[in-house]
Symmetry: C2
Subunit: 445 residues, 2 copies
């Protein structure tokens, strides 16, 4: 079975719609059925246990195993792109050489038997704000009547530091956060009634840089281990009340989901594109040449608890392209370090919400529903302005426009739990501004 691209075929069967064809081979960390943790490379519906199967990696940077003492990939990430390439190339060799089948088979496990974990310990987590459409949409919603795009936006990739300690993995329960929101014009503490998602692309740092020395755009990608999906869960009401003048804090810090498989830039190389032309021209340190953008595509799916109970599949609520993101990861690295701040292996930075210019291409509910004015209808008969308890959100992403020739980023899901202090699914109050919608939800559950 081939995956449509020229080159050696894998001897392992790979479903044609798999996000993990032989040209992908992303890295991850998973818990085995016996409870132990190992490093894996995904191929089709399987994962190669490169930890127990480290003998396959002799002569590469992976021959002593890819996990460090903390059972993460940070030390491997730190070894840089040449090391990642050597290991990935070797895995590609053993999976395409039929004569090695018997040697490799013992280390190939069905992905579904693994519980994937967050693959790195994230030191610093930075979230950018690099979609022109998203920044414009949010500017209109948060600052009605004002200029949606602030004066700095086209001059630098606006970003902020998020909380690295609350980065969670695939299939996590997201507790509904509490905090202070404005209720009928007065501040009041309670569970958020505007729980939202942000569909983003994440970049994991590989080799670090030196404190005090900036990383130029041209060298930036050398410091990347790979790419993943990020859901930057957001409580819009908490964020709106708190964010002046120091930016988002509790409205974001309760959880950030990260997909489990790190796709290397080598795998994404065929999908490079020139980024949009920037006008006005940017500062020298932000100037890039060549195809520093990536032709990635993102989708967001939503499934309510009652849909799950009735066996109804998640529905697609957003589909957006990454190709027209205004700022590229190379520029984000150059910016992040121009002041002398350094990169550490395992640092994560994310693109910011990926929104397109057309309805249905917005990467957050606040945009998709215009802060609840146009709720989304679900097949169980309910509607959504923001997330209800029990809702599951799945982000999915891939590179490439030809379905027969895609490199997948995989997916990451999260399910909204109740607000622990109130102890259940039915006690989250609904935003009074959306009473009708909220009431409708209530009847459906």
């Amino acid at each position: 079975v081939s995956d449509g691209r020229a080159g050696p075929r894998a001897w392992v069967e790979i479903p044609p719609d798999s996000p993990f064809p032989i040209h992908n081979l992303p890295f991850g960390v998973g818990r085995r059925p016996d409870g132990t943790v190992g490093a894996f490379v995904a191929v089709g519906d399987h994962a190669l246990d490169v930890d127990r199967g480290r003998s396959l990696l002799t002569g590469t940077a992976g021959e002593d195993g890819l996990l460090d003492a903390t059972q993460k990939l940070n030390s491997f990430a730190a070894q840089g792109r040449r090391a990642h390439r050597a290991v990935r190339d070797r895995v590609g060799e053993v999976l395409t050489d039929p004569s090695r089948r018997d040697e490799v088979l013992p280390f190939l496990v069905p992905i579904e038997e693994l519980t994937m974990t967050v693959p790195v310990t994230v030191g610093d987590y930075v979230d950018f704000y690099s979609s022109l459409h998203h920044a414009t949409n949010l500017g209109r919603l948060f600052r009605p009547g004002g200029e949606p795009l602030l004066p700095n936006w086209r001059h630098l990739p606006v970003g902020y530091h998020g909380r690295s300690g609350t980065i969670v993995g695939d299939r996590s329960t997201i507790a509904r956060p509490r905090g202070i929101r404005s209720v009928s014009g007065s501040p009041a503490a309670g569970p958020t009634t505007q729980l939202d998602i942000e569909s983003e692309v994440g970049f994991v740092v590989g080799s670090g840089s030196i404190h005090g020395q900036r990383v130029p755009c041209a060298e930036a990608e050398r410091h990347l281990f790979g790419v993943c999906l990020v859901n930057d869960w957001s409580a819009r009401d908490i964020q709106a009340f708190e964010y002046q003048p120091l930016g988002p804090f509790l409205g974001k810090s309760f959880a950030t989901s990260m997909s489990p498989w790190i796709v290397t830039l080598d795998a994404l190389d065929p999908f490079r594109i020139a980024p949009p032309i920037q006008e006005p021209p940017v500062a020298d340190y932000l100037t890039t040449t060549g195809p520093t953008g990536f032709d990635l595509h993102l989708e967001v799916f939503l499934q309510s608890a009652s849909m799950r109970e009735r066996g109804l599949d998640p529905i697609l609520i957003s589909a957006a392209g990454f190709a027209d993101m205004y700022w590229t990861p190379a520029q984000q690295i150059a910016h992040m370090t121009v002041n002398g701040a350094h990169l550490r292996p395992g640092d994560l930075f994310a693109s910011g919400t990926v929104s397109g210019p057309t309805p249905g291409s917005e990467g957050s509910l606040i945009e998709l529903t215009s802060r609840g004015e146009r709720p989304i209808s679900l097949p169980d008969g309910s509607t959504r302005a923001f997330l209800d308890d029990g809702d599951t959100v799945v982000l999915r992403g891939w590179a490439g426009s030809d379905p027969a020739d895609r490199i997948g980023l995989g997916s990451v899901s999260g399910t909204i739990g109740g607000s622990p202090d109130t102890g259940g699914l039915d006690t989250a109050p609904h935003d009074t501004a959306h009473h009708d919608t909220a009431h409708h939800h209530g009847r459906e559950r």
Copy 2:
């Protein structure tokens, strides 16, 4: 020699003005003259090597050594206040029991022989904004004509996440950061011309909490390992251009200095005070009872390169009290976790700039000089609006008003280096808005 308070005397000599009397006994990590790293407890001008001298700690949480595999105190911090108290009590015993002098002496080293390091690996670093005077002063400077205090300020402790990777220790060189500032109304990249300090108190997290569960005010201090000084270096011009709408980023992320000795809450217990009355009343989750404030005092000293060359001591440029900080560390923890975000051992959060109500009590240069309108005169004949290359800033802090009965936080210093890309001390351009001052600096150097 006693330190003035009732209780057993130490048999080791302690200078009367030492920040580290026998009632203090803070924890730190230092590099020994032979290059190895150890955990230490400070007493007077000495430090007890509790790593090599772990035999002194038999029966306590420190008997296997206080350092973890990364040569930091995180694992010890994680063990909680009872463990810290047991070790500190034991150190107090052996230093006051004259019969143990010969046993202990081999592990007592002069502090000046050690190179102190950052004592913990900081996971998440949060910086608050909890001084009413500072927030008011900065609101006037950053938003002239507007209401200085934003509507959220009295309802919650405003804060943001800083960059944990660029936390540095005592006596660090701080490279002048580059970034984009508004120059004559147009954005331009270059070294900051408004390099500033922020004099703050830092709190290091001991035992962690659980993701999804808030920490109530009444339990918050259980999660504290101790207290230190923090200098949140700031590039005001970079910050002013970038900070809308997501808060400070490059204007802060280049470096944050942390003092080396972690003073326990037990040592600070005699200096507890009731915090200011909060009006309007705060939300239930922020309501505290009893003395959750601390009677701390902070000083800032400045010494130019030419002062250093001429043997002139640093001069005092700011003296402020921590007692009237509007928000307390217990409230900051309760707030930080009310959305379910958890604390990890070694996390650092800082109070925000400590500024008092009177001239000379402001904890930053932008306040002290009204953004350069009232420059500070130095004994070498120069003046300062913001920091020049070669300037050394020293923060100093202690608890207690009676000089004979103080518990010191020690000090932390940093010296401004050039901007690496321009390669030297003399090439940083000066803010055109302060040309006269800048020119004056130039002549003096």
